[in-house]
Amino acid sequence: MTKFRENRKHSRSSRAANRVTEMLMIILSVPFVFSPMVYAASADFEQEWAKLIAAAKQEGKVAVASGGAPSRQYRPVVDVFQKKFGVTVEVSTGNATDTVNRVLAERKAGKYIMDVALISSRENNQRLVPSEALIPFAPLLIHPEVLDKSPWYGGRYWFSDKESKYAFIYHVSKEDRYETWYNTDKIKEAEITTIKKQADFFDPRWKGKIGGQGMGDPSGLRQMIDSYFEPDRGQKWVRTYLLDAGITFSDDRRILETWLTGGRFPLQAVATGSEDLIALAKKGIPIKQIFLPKQVALIRAGGSGCCISAFANTPHPNAAKLFVNWFLSKEGQTLTHTMIPNIDRSSLRNDIPLGEVVPEQRRVPGVEYGFPDADPKFGARQEEAQKWILKLWESRQK
């Protein structure tokens, strides 16, 4: 019995040893077995890539519809593309709404000028997708660095449209706490620390002291749409903030800034233009930020610098394909981090240096963030909230 046991023990250990040996052999043999395949795949890609470059050069140009800050921010990035591939990139001017108006009017008249859109999730979801101006995005992707989903946040692609196939999200901003600014000459630290939660801004002591961004500014509207869905704020909070809290609004960010720094309205409950305020605080202007906790940490795809999509009936299909693949590759995404100073959002690629991304916007590895913009149902809910907020805003004008 003992022998049996010993035999069993021996056989078990030898089987284990055998298994390890087998495993080792398999692992060691992988490169020999798959290398020709990998090599073949790589060679195929190189061939396809070279063909694509040649075809794109032939087309000579890729037209990008963009808006807001990215239409300027991406200029040095697309310059690299132009130099590298000899294909001109023409980025549109003006704000996103004007750009989309123009593109949609052109398309209705049968003129197809734009190839790619670097534009907000809102413009994509509410206008470009419903007008059937876009084509599914994933089939355009051929670059191995882009096809490999493992470096992307969550190991997958993220889309902002309800069908999850048109508006590819590549950059997000992180929102894991509420940011508030105050003027240190006008508000004492002891006073500001009495604000613990979002409803505390509505304490009568702050009435007439808060400045806020109006809804005529898309980012002001976005702040309120976000607030509408957040458990710490919600619909009731938005109503009070817009109608009853005695807040003075301006759509002009620089006016708001001087109100805060000059102390006319020494409190900004909802931070606006943080990058500029941080820079001013560093230079000794008497303003300071405080952070309040947020129940759910989020990443958001807002503004024109979040999403990339491709137009149907594009005049330069090869140049467009080359551009989107390069833009989402390690090189393209790295350049967005390194060539745009103090960028306040970051790539969903996890395998690139963070470069100029401001510290507050760097995602914490391992943390799972809520990502409402990637929820296919969120677009419709957002649209409803938007209508409700705008109606509320207009009711102030009675």
Binding site: S71, T97, N101, S250, R264, K283, G284, E394, S395
Partner: protein
């Protein structure tokens, strides 16, 4: 109105018969077709589409109905905003009009020193865009942090800020400091210069003093240009927007145009309701057209004839007092905003002296590859508009005033109606026009589309200014030329152009400014290749980019270009035109001589 006996003696201009029936009709047909197409068709397209009930015209399929018309007039606060617009307009016009008329009269009819330089300074104040001017006044007059208020508080003169720019008087003040006064001085001064001094001299010989002459002779003679300027201002009652928006929103004060702007800037632009609200300006035109037709039909105010004799009144020591007051006003209108602009461009951040000064914004703008392109495009557009528009508008005005060609009423209607729709909406109509017309869509995306738009965009003001001049000029000179055998073209270039030169110069400058500063009308037509400085400034000062320092630099370039252009225009204009001050006589001496003669006769 009681008619001055002096005016009753005036020779009344008569209309010249149509050039030749055939060619005249042909010219009129071409003008009506071209202007109707480029000016009215975009408006009609917008109006037709206002019955398209789709929430997003660009996305949803067309369906027809009255939804936009019903919804637009049910907007909350619409009546209040209409009232607010009227209030701001009324207070602004009742303040700026007398000031503008008085300054124009002083500059044109008196011996105030440096009158041409002062007039030119008003042109410069018109060249400064209204946004930096308003920002400058916010910096100075914010109730808590405005420099003037802080200064007064520091001096112990007041405990709380004395001035508040975020108020109705603040908005009116900012409007006056913007273009409110300067535009009236610019439009009225040439008209006052065109006045024959012999009429005023006759009044004085008859024993009237300067003031009595002014009210009994000069102002009644100037009624036609003044009413035209007033009518042009009436057109803007529901369009004036930027200052009201910037200063009104913080204290919950909304004007009608803010409503239109908000609808267009909605996340899904509501062009339907915006068009409905904007179309109310068409009602204004229903008031304006009969008013100015009445002026043209009376045509009793001819002030330039073959025996035209310019002359200036010597106000004695009041010349210098007037000079001082006007100079002070010009400091507020021109020097102040310019200093803020230039200083701001060197400041690390506008409004923060503590952060020091830098050249980085200049380096940023000058190293931007788009800048040189934009500069070239702006120069091209500005120069074309400055040269072509005044000539074109003068021909249209000639047709309207000096001929009896059929279709003049329609032409007038086209000119006025096209000015009823704000630029930001008209831009969409123009986009449809260029991309939807088979023969024209090759122009879309090229500089030519922008050239056509900027040439025509100052038409309402331009044509009406020229109409005012044609009403003033007697028929005798033209008739003499025609009797001597000169054809229409020769008469136009040799007789009319020199007479019109001061107004043409003015329009050249105004059109340069309008072309160089165009945004709403061209934003949907311009591409990266045809970007202009104004679009670049708009992009830089947008909320997303928020680089107001760099935008200031672009404004400085636009102003510099315009000033250089204006100097060139003046240089040539003064040489080619009739010098209204060449034979300037001391009216006071004349009157005294006449009085002593009269005494001697007695």
């Amino acid at each position: 109105m009681e008619q001055s006996p002096v005016i009753d003696e005036l020779s009344v201009a008569r209309s010249v018969q149509a050039v030749r029936l055939g060619s005249g009709h042909f010219v009129m047909a071409v003008v009506l077709l071209l202007l109707g197409y480029f000016l009215i068709w975009p408006v009609i397209l917008l109006l037709i589409n206002s019955f398209n009930t789709a929430a997003d015209w660009f996305v949803e399929p067309r369906s027809w109905g009255l939804r936009h018309w019903q919804n637009a007039f049910q907007r909350p606060g619409l009546l209040r905003s209409l009232g607010n617009s009227l209030l701001i307009w009324l207070v602004t016009i009742t303040t700026s009009f007398p000031i503008g008329v008085a300054i124009a009269w002083i500059l044109a009819r008196t011996k105030i020193p440096f009158s041409h330089t002062l007039e030119f300074m008003f042109w410069i104040s018109y060249m400064v865009p209204s946004l930096p001017t308003t920002i400058a006044w916010i910096t100075l007059l914010d109730p808590d942090i405005g420099w003037i208020n802080i200064g007064l508080k520091n001096l112990g003169l007041v405990e709380q800020g004395l001035f508040n720019i975020f108020s109705v008087p603040g908005i009116v003040f900012a409007n006056l400091m913007g273009h409110g006064i300067s535009i009236k001085v610019m439009l009225l001064t040439p008209a006052f210069r065109n006045m024959d001094a012999s009429l005023e001299e006759a009044a004085r010989v008859g024993g009237a003093g300067n003031l009595r002459t002014l009210f009994k002779v000069t102002l009644p003679l100037m009624i036609s240009p003044m009413i035209l300027v007033f009518a042009l201002q009436l057109l803007r009652v529901f369009q004036s927007f930027e200052t009201e928006y910037l200063l009104g929103v913080p204290f919950g004060f909304y004007v009608y145009s803010t409503k239109i702007f908000a609808l267009i800037r909605d996340p899904i632009p509501n062009y339907g309701e915006a068009t409905v609200l904007a179309s109310i300006t068409l009602l204004m035109i229903a008031l304006i057209i009969p008013l100015q037709r009445w002026i043209l039909e009376r045509r009793r105010y001819t002030t330039i004839t073959g025996s035209f004799r310019p002359g200036l009144i010597d106000l004695g020591r009041w010349n210098f007092i007037a000079f001082g007051l006007i100079s002070l006003l010009l400091v507020l209108l021109t020097v102040g905003p310019l200093i803020v602009l230039v200083l701001g461009s060197f400041m690390t951040r506008i409004g923060y002296f503590v952060l020091g000064f830098t050249l980085s914004h200049w380096q940023f703008v000058l190293s931007d590859p788009v800048f040189i392109k934009a500069l070239r495009t702006t120069l091209l557009l500005g120069a074309t508009a400055a040269i072509v528009s005044p000539l074109l508008f003068s021909v249209i005005a000639y047709i309207l005033v000096r001929t009896r060609l059929p279709g003049r009423g329609v032409l007038d209607l086209i000119v006025w109606s096209s000015g009823a729709i704000p630029g930001i909406l008209a831009g969409l109509g123009l986009l449809w026009l260029f991309i939807g017309t088979p023969g024209l869509n090759f122009l879309f995306g090229t500089i030519w589309a922008l050239i056509i738009v900027v040439i025509l965009q100052g038409k309402t003001t331009g044509v009406n200014v020229m109409k005012g001049v044609f009403v003033q000029v007697g028929a005798d000179m033209e008739e003499a030329a025609r009797v001597s055998g000169a054809g229409w073209a020769r008469t136009y270039f040799q007789i009319w152009l020199p007479l019109l030169m001061p107004s043409l110069m003015l329009l050249a400058v105004m059109n340069f400014v309008s072309a160089a500063g165009a945004t709403g009308s061209i934003i949907l037509l311009a591409s990266r290749d045809t970007m202009t400085l104004s679009l670049m400034a708009l992009e830089l000062s947008s909320i997303a980019v928020s680089n107001r320092e760099a935008a200031s630099i672009i404004s400085i370039f636009i102003i510099a270009l315009t000033v250089i252009g204006a100097l060139i225009v003046r240089y040539f204009g003064l040489r080619l035109g009739v010098r209204h001050d060449m034979q300037s006589v001391n009216a006071g001496e004349l009157v005294r001589a006449a009085e002593s003669n009269a005494a001697a006769v007695k």
